[in-house]
Amino acid sequence: MKRAITLLGVFLIILLARWIAFPNSVSGTTSHESPVQNTTEIPDIESVDNGENAFSLAGEGLRKFIRYSGFRNASAGHLIMIGVGLFFIFLAIKYDYEPLLLVPIGMGIIFGNIPFFQADNLNMQIGIYQEGSVLNYLYFGVLKGVYPPLIFLGIGAMTDFSSLISKPRLMLLGAAAQVGIFLTFLGALALGFHAQEAGAIGIIGGADGPTAIFLSSRLANGVNIIGTAANGDPIYVKNLIGPIAIAAYSYMALVPVIQPPIMRLLTTRKERLIRMKPPRAVSRLEKILFPLIGMLVTTFISPNSLPLLGMLFFGNLLKESGVTKRLADTSRNSLIDIVTIMLGLTVGASTQADRFLTTDSLVIFGLGALSFMVATAGGVIFAKVMNLFLKGDEKINPLIGAAGVSAVPDSARVVQSVGLKEDPTNHLLMHAMAPNVAGVIGSAVAAGILLSFLL
């Protein structure tokens, strides 16, 4: 199957990249080492002796130009990452995999891997990690976790929670799928990550890009102190925002590849044929009450989810109140578009080869794939468990459990697609939207809980 190759391709590229780019350091991690590779002194035209003639000066000029050019500074890592960026763009344009995310991220990866001359005492303000560069300013919104809540504002303003309000029972599927988060957390711990890092890695299983960025900017930001070395120096948490974000968005784009086999494996044909009762109509009052009650309940339980869930429900209230149409319009159009561009570009650019191509990144990608699978399985199995207590036309088609991972709306579409293959008249999309949006709430709550336990 074409898609399987896609998945395999991503893995192989990263694996190869790791080996080719830094053959000597595969065993260890390099994230705490200095990112500066070239420490040769800055070529300085002014230092040329005045006695030299114009001809040798021209040569000097050419040499300086070449020393600063990308050709001279390119490493295998840069080229591989540029290849990955082009591959993301290819996937987005050719297969329409989450293009609104993959095109900016792909372009950002290229952006972040244009090779330039780096030296200790020179800051030409090009790279995303160089203070004062434009990318560095735009990256601020990622580092400080400002972009994700703004994305959630827009998502709230474009999400219709009707399906969830009409069948609140399906909310549980959105909770069940979060098992991926907590198992991945344990998995990351088992592989030697520190608790805060493990929490940030676990959230990949939430299948929600902004939530993943938000949590990792709080927990695995390279700034928090997690211990003290023997000599009294503080030990800093690793900065894993880049790999976590890229993993989360990659797998969200690959949901149509990852989920179907697991869904089919865990369900019988009879189960996949279950037709569900159509949802009832929902009154305007219920739609207005939903964001208000939803916000109070979830943030009282998990106050650390406030930045995400508060914004999500705020956006939804703007949409449903009926009196703030223009604010909802702007939230779900210009505002979310602007933030999406900035977020995608800078998250992509944060994959500068010398920071990104580490064993950690590889492990994170592996754990991320696992967590998506576990989450999918969690949702499907929980739906089957619920069916034990339901009867007749109340029964749930367990396929929609897979939509509980969130990845809105792609995983709901996958449910629809898998369902249609069994019975071309059984439209599950409407029903799958309920666990799908519940999964967004669920992973934001999980993020809040991890914050309160780990911070």
Binding site: L164, I165, P168, R169, M171, L172, G174, A175, A176, Q178, V179, I181, F182, L183, F185, L186, L189, A190, L191, G192, F193, H194, A195, A198, K277, P278, P279, R280, A281, V282, S283, L285, E286, L289, F290, I293, G294, V297, T298, I301, S302, M430, A438, I441, G442, V445, A446, I449, L450, F453, L454
Partner: protein, 121 residues
């Protein structure tokens, strides 16, 4: 035993297990609470409406949200879908301008606004 070995060689300890298990349970708590509330809400709303109507001496409303069955909704949404789909095929040839800025001039819009607004005062 492998699992125990992992526990020993890794950063997993009892605390982290507690975090994972109680974390998962709290997520459930949150969504079960929402489930519970929104299971109740429609009943409370129709109850409230009925009470008010009875207090006002009117007949209770036929229960909203139950009058329209799911089947009907599905039919409507499909019809709507087909309708929108058709329109879509044509719309790419249409050129229009954005809503003229009716909202900003006192000469026209504000009168307009008044008509709509002051019924409420």
């Amino acid at each position: 035993m492998t699992p125990n070995l992992i526990l020993l060689s890794s950063n997993i300890n009892l605390e982290s297990l507690v975090i994972a298990v109680s974390g998962y349970l709290i997520v459930f708590t949150a969504l079960i609470s929402l489930f519970w509330i929104f299971n109740l809400t429609p009943k409370l709303i129709s109850l409230g409406k009925t009470k008010i109507r009875i207090r006002q001496g009117k007949h209770p409303l036929p229960q909203e949200g139950k009058g329209i069955s799911g089947e009907e909704i599905a039919a409507i949404s499909m019809a709507l879908h087909l309708y929108l789909d058709e329109i879509h095929d044509e719309e790419s040839g249409v050129i229009t301008i954005k809503q003229i800025s009716r909202a900003y001039s006192p000469w026209s819009s504000k009168i307009y606004a008044v008509r709509n607004q002051f019924n409420r005062l």
